[in-house]
Symmetry: C2
Subunit: 591 residues, 2 copies
């Protein structure tokens, strides 16, 4: 086993390796967990005339792994797209005999002499991950789930693999996620090409791709107005990739992951300014990115090497540079770390807002932090972030912040509180909660950001691994429809112990803690989220255009369709989230 | 209880407080553990004619607590003393009725118009501490003693209390340790005075003191030639006094303890340059007095705030300034601490001499440490200290030290190794091991220090709490007699969990880890050690004097007596250690 690995590493052939179940943190191929759910039996599979079949399917469906997929066979995918847009389709292959060394290739897409090159098109084997289910009352996914046996688990299609050649087992379905990144410079017109599936002892099968590029241009993700805030977890990356924290290898591993976020229009850098800002609730707890030393004379000394390196990396190498969120001054466990020079240990002060020790610990830090941030030119972008705590505690924390520097920006992810909302530069409130219209307008006027978040609490909409794929898009379209400035989710890569194979966690419904997989591998959830984010930006562009042109009819049609993206709209129109999302998507391409 | 304490603190009356058994770390009075050994019964006590009696006794005896002491009653203590010398006597009080609020006072000692003031005389109630015994084979006291029930325990007189007023129980013996510090300026002659014991409902009892001050002057302890090296443990002090490490309160607590050492001619400052240099073998482990930070770029950063404060305190406030011993580069557990900036944790490098990681960890530190020491003007006084390890490891460590700075001094407390002895500025070898005469002479010529040590290994001589008091003096007189430059003991205040009441420890025979008690309180062992140290210096002075004067007869008598301070001398002269020590002491006053 060790020899095989060494040889393969030398030959860079690990992608061809048989998956090793013994590998704890696979980066190449891997073996999925066993699908124990009822599925088509051998007799049903054996009735298939053509042993291996291929068709375009739908991006709304997580095709079961061991049953013949329910698709209306079609070999042409036709879609419209804006210049600069990413468009997705899902092909499905199913086989009663299995396919050895299956692989997918795509041709250039051609429109006369114009070309969308094959390099702008990607095809991913969709992989299956273990998921669970909503709480028994179907009202959400919060709460502890230590005993996995209590939850109905199943294998679902979600991971978009980066392994390019793999064996497909007999009597199995293999979805293939396909994405075309239309260059912003592509002239309008219809681009055509071919997706080919080949394999050992398999006659190659083809599907047609046709992308009608319209004349409109989707701005680059960095320009998107929608304030996206998916919290990053660098600590999970270090653990999964088994690299020293903040080493070059660590940044190397994070680079493609964080670029996926930048490509989704991410605005905020997640930083932790204390040990376990969320009490270590994720598989890999966050630690302090600031070194705090308590000197023997009782004074504090700070070092920002980790904070600076992470922020500089995100800003300069990744391009996420609008906001630095610093978690947190009011953690759930009010215990604050420092390296104690006297005892040569990391110790903790147990104190709470309102106490002198709290004001000393934070006041001293925030003054120095403000000085440092100003030196780096980051002060205006940085926000001291709080989690929901009792009002009195939040007020005391705000007092300490303002005392350190009245100009410090402050954020809260929590409930809407009229008492403190004016102090919050950035306020993200739960799905279903609303800002009073006058407050929202006033906040906008003052340049304050007002968003919504979802977490474990929502049965719908959500991005659990068992959630309907379209919910990811619907969520952000809803955020726009309901007048929020953006969307926050508390975890995008807080990986479970074995994230590629098992998305279940010791708390919350499966998939709650991440939608980007190691590799990095995207997911059906993440790509549908990006689709929604693109449509949000398209709505913004169209509104601007229609308003500028005075195209009231189109504006009205657009706004009416957008306004339906609410729970009430779903009920009223009797549409599913996927129908609503797809119709709106189509409208945005045809207005 | 709290109220009592507060009132007493306000009135500075805590010395009068009833001992509180619930007090974990008593600083005032306290209740001794129960003496469970056979002792004189009530009938025997009741036969006493005079209910409470007082006499001078012997400093060689640990008088049992619950039996009538075996003393030839005498009310006059007469002794010779050099100017500047401390002389000790032990009085014994025994009572069948008990004495409430017993206290001891001393008068000035008068010689015509010359006075040794009462302030130069101290009297201490001798307190009883739990001890155990030698190993079952009587060969020493090494090894683990987790199960106290396996060892024969008893209460022994050792602690010299600082509580001045206390109740003496009925049918009990209360020794009173008495010390006269003869001023260096006192004119020769016989000084006389009175020691008085009084108590509630007790007619005061008196004992006479007569000190014949000779014309010779004992140099101040700082000038003593004998190289005394008793390792200090600041961590034990912080724990017992419940004060933050390296705080002003901590130094306040250490000041009188360390002054006792300075007064004994202590030469070395014990410093720890890593976490647990001795694998945490004491109740309070040593931690690193150096802050080592591993930066995320892999470089090391050092801070010497603790080291500097401790060394400056010892040098400037205490006057111990000849040597700074830095423990250790080769600990028993080869695991080396640092604060890791990346993970915000104290981490450990597991590496051993000869490995690149070892050379990196130590080489980088030693270079910076040398720079720092030179800046402080301490480089010439500082020695990197090693414990006994395999030869190859010691050689590799020496190589790393020499590479960092060829002029670095190096010490070893361990066996004599001809292969490396020339590299060792300071080498302390076990009792009974000898330096070859030519090597010792060569080392002397080169200014290298060669001493001996005792630890748990010696059944005799030792300073366990059950050791004969005179052994403490005999040990250092032996060191001188056998041609060593001094004496090392690895612990002088590494206190047990409850050091005033129980000297037993989880390893080694009781008392191995300390001879100074919290308070600070001296001990019979410590005072007898100082007596030996004084006599060592007196021997040096007399030799110099006799050589200068050509007083060959006296020199010969002196050297003959000194030379007997060996195990062979004891056997040959058929004397006990106390007899030998006392005779030599007497000779030094009469030559």
């Amino acid at each position: 086993m060790r020899n095989i690995f060494i040889v393969c590493a030398l030959l860079a052939c690990n992608l061809f390796m048989n998956a090793q179940e013994s590998e704890k943190y696979p980066l190449g191929d891997y073996t999925e967990l066993t699908d124990t759910k009822p599925h088509d039996d051998a007799a049903t599979w054996d009735k298939l005339g053509t042993p291996t079949q291929l068709s375009w399917g739908s991006t709304d469906v997580r095709y079961p792994k061991l049953s013949i997929p329910d698709v209306r066979k079609t070999n042409r995918w036709r879609t419209k797209a804006w210049k600069g847009e990413r468009v997705n389709a899902q092909a499905v292959l199913w086989t009663k005999t299995g396919v050895k060394e299956a692989q997918v290739s795509v041709s250039d897409l051609r429109n006369g002499s114009h070309v969308i090159p094959a390099s702008a098109i990607s095809a991913h084997f969709v992989r299956y991950v273990m998921t669970d289910e909503l709480n028994k009352d179907r009202k959400g996914g919060c709460g502890v789930r230590e005993n996995k046996a209590e939850w109905d688990s199943s294998l679902v299609a979600d991971v978009l693999d980066i392994v390019k050649v793999r064996d497909i087992q007999a009597r199995a379905t293999q979805p293939i996620w396909t994405q075309v990144r239309v260059p912003a410079s592509a002239p309008a017109g219809t681009y055509k090409g071919i997706l080919t599936v080949s394999g050992k002892d398999l006659e190659s099968m083809e599907l047609r791709i046709e992308v009608d590029v319209t004349n409109r241009v989707l701005p680059a993700p960095k320009e998107w107005a929608f304030h996206l805030d998916l919290w990053q977890n660098p600590y999970a990356v270090a653990r999964y990739y088994q690299v020293p924290l903040w080493s070059e290898a660590h940044f190397e591993a994070m680079r493609p992951i964080m670029r996926m976020l930048a490509d989704a229009g991410q605005k905020s850098i997640t930083t932790s300014i204390m040990h376990k800002p969320w009490n270590g609730q994720t598989e890999d707890h966050f630690d302090s990115m600031v070194t705090r030393v308590k000197k023997i004379d009782g004074t504090w000394q700070y070092d920002y090497a980790v904070f600076d390196k992470w922020v500089e990396f995100m800003m300069n190498e990744i391009g996420i540079d609008q906001m630095i969120s610093c978690y947190t001054m009011i953690p759930w466990k009010l215990s604050f770390d420092y390296y104690d020079e006297a005892t040569n240990r990391v110790l903790f002060v147990d104190t709470k807002p309102g106490e002198a020790a709290y004001a000393d610990y934070w006041g001293s830090f925030l003054k120095d932090f403000a000085r440092h941030l100003k030196e780096k030119g980051w002060f205006e972008k940085t926000a001291i972030s709080m989690d929901e705590r009792p009002m009195e505690a939040m007020r005391e924390a705000i007092k300490v912040i303002k005392q350190a520097d009245p100009a410090f920006k402050i954020t809260l992810a929590g409930n809407y509180h009229p008492e403190i909302q004016q102090d919050l530069y950035y306020l993200s409130i739960p799905y279903g909660h609303l800002f009073p219209a006058d407050v929202k307008a006033e906040r906008e006027r003052k340049g304050q950001i007002s968003t919504m978040y979802t977490c474990c609490a929502e049965a719908f909409p959500n991005t659990f691994t068992f959630s309907d794929p379209a919910e990811a898009a619907w969520t952000v379209l809803h955020a726009l429809a309901a007048g929020y400035d953006g969307y926050l989710r508390w975890a995008v890569n807080s990986w479970t112990a074995d994230p590629l194979r098992d998305s279940r966690f010791r708390t919350w419904a499966a998939g709650d803690t991440y939608s980007i997989y190691p590799g990095p591998r995207s997911s059906i959830r993440f790509e549908r989220l990006v689709e929604g984010l693109q449509d949000c930006e398209k709505i913004r562009v169209l509104r601007e255009e229609f308003e500028a042109k005075g195209a009231q009819g189109k504006l009205k049609r657009l706004n009416k369709a957008v306004a339906q993206c609410t729970p009430e709209g779903l009920a009223e129109t009797q549409r599913s989230a996927s129908e609503m999302v797809n119709e709106l998507h189509s409208l945005l391409n045809n207005l």
